[in-house]
């Protein structure tokens, strides 16, 4: 049961070693830097040190209570990440698969629009553009 923010890459296999001991179901989600336009070189992720760790920890604790999780982990990177690099991961462990899937989905919806990260796309030409929040992410949060 932990949340981390780091610039370094993470190793999914290492994160899962010993994770969720005794649980019947483990779900993991990994977000990867995507290039929708064919013009992007990298993503730069800014965050609010202090608040970010606190928010991720609060959302993880909330998910654990709501979905009766045996374990959870959130790792989110910041700084400059090239296209194809992993950005973040969520892992949830529960007795049964449905709770593990739902908890991972719930955490992703909260991280998308309530964790203090801001993405900026860096083009191959060096131009930078802040990514706008999507109203669909806000709608997704309302499901819970």
């Amino acid at each position: 049961m932990s949340a981390r923010v780091q610039s370094a890459p993470f190793d999914l296999a290492a994160e899962l070693a010993g994770f969720g001991a005794g649980a019947g179901a483990i779900v993991t989600f990994t977000g990867v830097v995507r290039d929708d336009t064919g013009q992007m070189a990298a993503l730069e992720i800014e965050h609010y040190p202090g608040m970010t760790e606190r928010a991720l920890s609060d959302y993880g604790t909330e998910a654990a209570t709501r979905f009766d999780l045996a374990d959870w982990r959130i790792v989110h990177r910041h700084g400059r990440l090239a296209v194809g690099q992993p950005i973040m991961m969520v892992a949830t462990a529960a007795r049964h698969r449905r709770a593990a899937f739902q908890a991972a989905d719930y955490l992703m919806d909260w991280l998308k629009s309530r964790a203090p990260f801001w993405k900026r796309e860096i083009g191959r030409d060096g131009a930078a553009r802040w990514v706008d929040a999507k109203s669909s992410d806000e709608d997704a949060l309302a499901r819970w």
Binding site: G31, E46, Y48, G50, M51, R54, A55, H76, I87, M88, M108, L111, K112, S113, R114, A115, P116, F117, W118, K119, R120, W130, V131, D132, A133
Partner: protein, 83 residues
């Protein structure tokens, strides 16, 4: 009251600094924004569209009518884009 005011993403860029210490009598976040926007053109531009601004008081998400009594740190930023 003295507050540490923090800015992130394009708010930081428009204002030209990541943080500043502010002496204010503002009772709410909205009052603080009015104080800040009156400082200079950069602040005024950053706070021109309140619908595009989110805030946190002492590192907890808050709305613009949140009271500032006892607060030490207020942060302003655009809607978050994590995950």
């Amino acid at each position: 009251m003295t507050l540490d005011v923090l800015y992130f993403a394009w708010l930081r860029e428009r204002i030209g600094q990541p943080r500043e210490r502010v002496d204010t009598d503002a009772a709410t976040v909205r009052d603080l924004i009015a104080d800040l926007a009156a400082r200079d053109d950069w602040h005024a531009a950053a706070f021109a569209d309140l619908a595009a601004i989110r805030c946190a008081v002492d590192q907890q998400l808050a709305d613009l009518d949140a009271p500032l009594a006892g607060a030490r740190e207020v942060a302003f930023f655009p809607p978050m884009t994590g995950g």
